[in-house]
Symmetry: C2
Subunit: 251 residues, 2 copies
């Protein structure tokens, strides 16, 4: 056992229960053993998005493989409210930032959408999935958000259920103040909550018309300054959590 007492926290897909041995992926084993220099007996936390968080001890390990022997559950699974972020692909660093920060802010699904002013029609979802996983591990979340494949904006907003709400970040200033709109929504609906953020060049006029015309959409303004797409995405999720989500005491 080495001198590390703060357990690393890793996402795995295996089932978790007392006494189970979980083998880490090659990448995770390399991270644990070579990068973080953990040794036999060191504590590791695992979660799989279904069965809570478990603590175990590193048992057999080599440079490329490592097994965790599970000892006890440290946290039960928590159900999270569905929060879906629709965003147009933007430059890679800003897009990766959206995925990392949105995960910290509790998003459950990240849906890239093609818009008229989108200058990229390629999204490396595998890379974004890894970023979401690492962010979930670090921020102590009990699940990893889905990173969906790129679809057209119109397809992403075509299928809705009673009670769903889509907040449209209207960069033309046409929406109502975000705090007013969200406060009005809080507690009133039991459906899924989605947010849509335009590309750096903004939505095309026809896209804004489409979004505004949806019966479940609400246009929102994020103040007098022109926010970058990544800033707008994080600001929107922050407002939701602070006003209606799990940052409130009563939820």
């Amino acid at each position: 056992m080495s001198n590390y007492t703060t357990p690393l926290r890793l996402y795995v897909t295996s089932d978790l229960a007392v006494g189970v041995d979980v083998e880490l992926s090659t990448d995770q084993a390399r991270y644990v053993v070579q990068v973080m220099r953990r040794g036999a007996g060191d504590p590791i936390l695992l979660f799989n998005g279904r069965q809570g968080e478990w603590q175990g001890a590193l048992t057999s390990l080599s440079k490329k493989s490592a097994t965790i022997h599970l000892e006890r559950q440290t946290r039960p699974q928590e159900n999270e409210r569905e929060l879906r972020l629709l965003f147009a692909p933007i430059k890679r660093p800003a897009m990766e930032l959206i995925v990392q920060k949105a995960t910290e802010l509790g998003v459950t699904a990240l849906q890239p959408v093609i818009t008229q002013h989108t200058n990229s029609d390629r999204v490396r979802t595998d890379r974004l999935k890894t970023i979401a996983m690492e962010a979930a591990e670090q921020c102590c979340r009990m699940m990893v958000p889905d990173v969906c494949e790129l679809v057209a904006l119109s397809d992403a907003v075509s299928d809705w259920s009673e009670g769903d709400v889509l907040f449209v970040m209207d960069e033309t200033g046409g929406g109502d103040p975000v705090a007013d709109v969200m406060a009005e929504t809080a507690g009133r609906n039991a459906g899924g909550i989605s947010f849509v953020i335009g590309p750096e060049g903004g939505f095309a006029e026809t896209e804004l018309d489409l979004l505004r015309s949806l019966p479940f959409s609400k246009s929102v303004s994020l103040g007098p300054r022109i926010l970058r797409a990544d800033t707008a995405a994080l600001a929107t999720l922050t407002c939701w959590q602070a006003l209606c989500g799990d940052w409130r005491r009563d939820l």
Copy 2:
């Protein structure tokens, strides 16, 4: 005159008035002429943080110099509420992100502070000033926030006036929900508003004791997940603007 009709927007220190010729810095001239390929006659917007925003036309220009002949004021100067962000130096990309996003979110002063768990005692304020300037240019703000020199945390919180408030982002979960604390503060005080964010390792216990004991401080919680320092900084400023600041309709 080239085909560019959207004016570039630049911050300058010179006085601005009808008919004045403003010479750009070498860096700005290079950006305008070589990077953005603007030519004689093209429109440029200038602001200086004191006399509003002005439109002018590019006149004499070479690869390294350019002059703008001012034609008309496009926006009056706006006074902004003092919003000061105290933050511990963190890794460079995350620190630069704080400066860029905080500028978009309306911060007026960025104050790096040395804390016990700060792993860097060097901050390149010149570089951060450039980032703040570029962000102000892009987000259409009328001023550029100050980037102050690094000081000890205790010095940064030693001088306060009646009505000032310091929001302490308490990552131990000891604070009240951010929306409640801010809603309570809104409209009640006319002093300066500050926010303090700890380093990646969190504040030391003695630092939290100091901050909590200040008569003008309010501890705030940002929910159940562990946010990175940069996420916490942006989330705090977002909540302020949405609940108490210039994202509200009535301000």
